[in-house]
Symmetry: C2
Subunit: 362 residues, 2 copies
């Protein structure tokens, strides 16, 4: 059956890494008998340039209708000084919110061949494999009231609201418990329950839910301590679950620990419907990298591995996903490197050449 | 003239590291002609045990009246399950709020002799010297409304409010600009202006203030990117200024990068009065470390260096502070190490012995 796929390449290096993804999709269609119906849309700066908004209602509707959305990256200096409400990021945030993608899965994985690229000592990161589950549709990102107001005394006041309900906490914690069950059976829940009532609620509710997942070892950690522990001894973690804002910082910190930001995919998942289907969006962890955009220098592997996550999570095509993951491992182990992961003795390749090598390995 | 000093040793390893601080204070009185009037008080768990609250009104009044407060550490498993409002941390938070200590100075400094203790590759942290200025009396730590409410549908809802006004931003940014002027003249202001209006206000107001500090190179960075950049290339930073919550995570992350958490002091400063005097509290960055408490194992250097910050910032005793800083450098370079910073070939010492060595070096 036809899988409806919406591709939003976005800004910066988004389009060029997505070109390689499309080549691999075509390979899966020709060689593995998969069948996709792919359409393209605009998000972020490129949508602002064409339509004046970072995401049109039409594209939003297409995303709602798709079986999966694959996104490149959004943003760049060109759009940095736009008013808050029409910045490129709002397009991405609207996709997350309207598709109700409450669970953001961000693996921090160290590729054997790349362990030395980490800024951490090699022995601390070798074999590292953490999964961060970040809540993605709640918290201070979307809480009301929010805004900037003028005070009578001539000052201004900026307000945002951090808010979570029981059910918002449960649904994302469930995803994390389930993932822990398929991995090392260890879950660390992260908040600031010592300072924030919303964090205290988070801790209490995750603890309650633990009753249904007694086979999982649950621990709690304050977010500041987690930032420390990630740097000190990252391998102590298996699955981490945390809120939207802490997840933003901690998952980026964890990603950087791996030394291979250009290799990291992510999945954002919604609730399962009656048929077990979830709305889903897949995107690389790296940003739009405007400094190297359009130069055929970007590493397409993070976006290709996002495609692999899509095959696995949205279409239950585990074997096909394995093929792609293995190809990426092989190509990197074979010494083919884009600039971001280049090392002495390796072969430097362009974005397109990296795509060539992946196709060869497949 | 008599300097009124309030010592709040607190919980865990607080009392034993503070014992060494008192020995050094006595040395300064006997050998350098300084004169302090020192009183002791309770904060945190020890105050809960004695008075049922983490800080009594009497101790609060003493703190308001002191020229400087020196704090050890608060908290421990014994008090972890107390209700939110009387947890040990509330004592510390009340001190910060009532004394209006809006500027938290947290240096992340790598001691030459300890560069190898970092989990980062030595060349990335050798010579590292960052100053993080964290806003300490505003933001989500104190914003109203806050709390947990029961919803009609049986769910619960946890709320906290992130809020900053123009003047709160200006006063802490001023401290950061002034510090940058005495250091490398580079200031990086950190928020999530792409997602939070309070962060946008922060960015706009810091930018305005820059007009008065044109000699300082100002940059802006999103908090998630800052978490990455600290791990990737920490030496790119000189002074960082950020809000209360981001400052909590980022300063802990930066502290851990140094590999010598047991060595890091901090200062929390209020506004200068007509005589240029500021309310001030000094404390080590490390916590109460309940696992090693009472065993004479803790590293007293962070607390001793907090005393040195006090001499420098509260009493303008730069020369005396230098003496103490130099003594700490010498003792560490001489190979004397508590367990946390122990390395092959060094001499392992207890808390008390470390105090002995500091006194010898002085
Ligand atoms: C681009 C930005 C809005 C976004 C976020 O803050 O969530 C990004 O940092 C991310 O982590 O996906
Ligand atoms: C103990 C706790 C309330 C405190 C904070 O969150 O500010 C601590 O983490 C700190 O950084 O001083």
């Amino acid at each position: 059956s036809n899988k409806k796929l919406l591709i939003l390449a976005g800004d910066g290096i988004g389009p060029e890494v997505m070109t390689q993804v499309k080549r691999v999709i075509t390979w899966f269609e020709k060689r593995q008998g998969l069948s996709f119906s792919v359409s393209d849309g605009l998000v972020g700066g490129c949508s602002i340039d064409k339509h004046g908004v970072p995401l049109t209602d039409e594209t939003m509707a297409e995303a709602m209708d798709a079986d999966a959305v694959l996104l490149g990256a959004v943003g760049g200096p060109k759009w940095d000084n736009l008013p808050f409400e029409i910045k490129p990021e709002r397009g991405l945030l609207r996709l997350r919110k309207d598709m109700e993608l409450f669970a953001n899965l961000r693996p921090a994985l160290v590729f054997d061949a790349l362990a030395e690229a980490s800024s951490l000592k090699t022995e601390l990161v070798e074999g590292l494999d953490i999964m961060i589950v970040r809540e993605l549709t709640g918290g201070v990102y979307f809480g009301q009231p929010r805004g900037i107001e003028n005070l009578p005394n001539g000052e201004r006041r900026g307000v945002n609201t951090q808010v979570y309900t029981t059910s918002e906490i449960h649904r994302v914690a469930r995803v994390a418990f389930e993932l822990a069950r398929k991995r090392g059976r260890k879950l660390c829940s992260v908040e600031k329950a010592n300072v924030m009532e919303s964090g205290l609620l988070w801790r209490e509710e995750v603890t309650k839910l633990h009753g249904e997942y007694k086979d999982i070892e649950l621990s709690h950690m304050y977010a500041d301590n987690c930032a420390m522990q990630l740097v000190r001894q990252p391998k102590q973690f298996d699955v981490i679950v945390t809120d939207n804002l802490f997840g933003d910082l901690l998952s980026d910190c964890a990603a950087m620990l791996t030394g291979s930001l250009g290799m990291l995919p992510s999945a954002s998942l919604g609730a399962a419907d009656a048929n077990g289907k979830r709305r889903a969006l897949y995107e690389p962890v790296h940003g739009s990298a405007p400094d190297i955009a359009g130069k055929d220098l970007a590493n397409p592997l993070a976006c290709l591995l996002s495609l692999s996550m899509m095959l696995r999570y949205s279409f239950d095509l585990g074997k096909e996903a394995d093929l792609l993951d293995k190809a990426a491992q092989e190509v990197v182990a074979g010494g083919f490197r884009t600039g971001d992961i280049m090392a002495p003795g390796c072969t430097k390749v362009s974005t397109t050449q990296m795509g060539d090598e992946i196709l060869k390995a497949l």
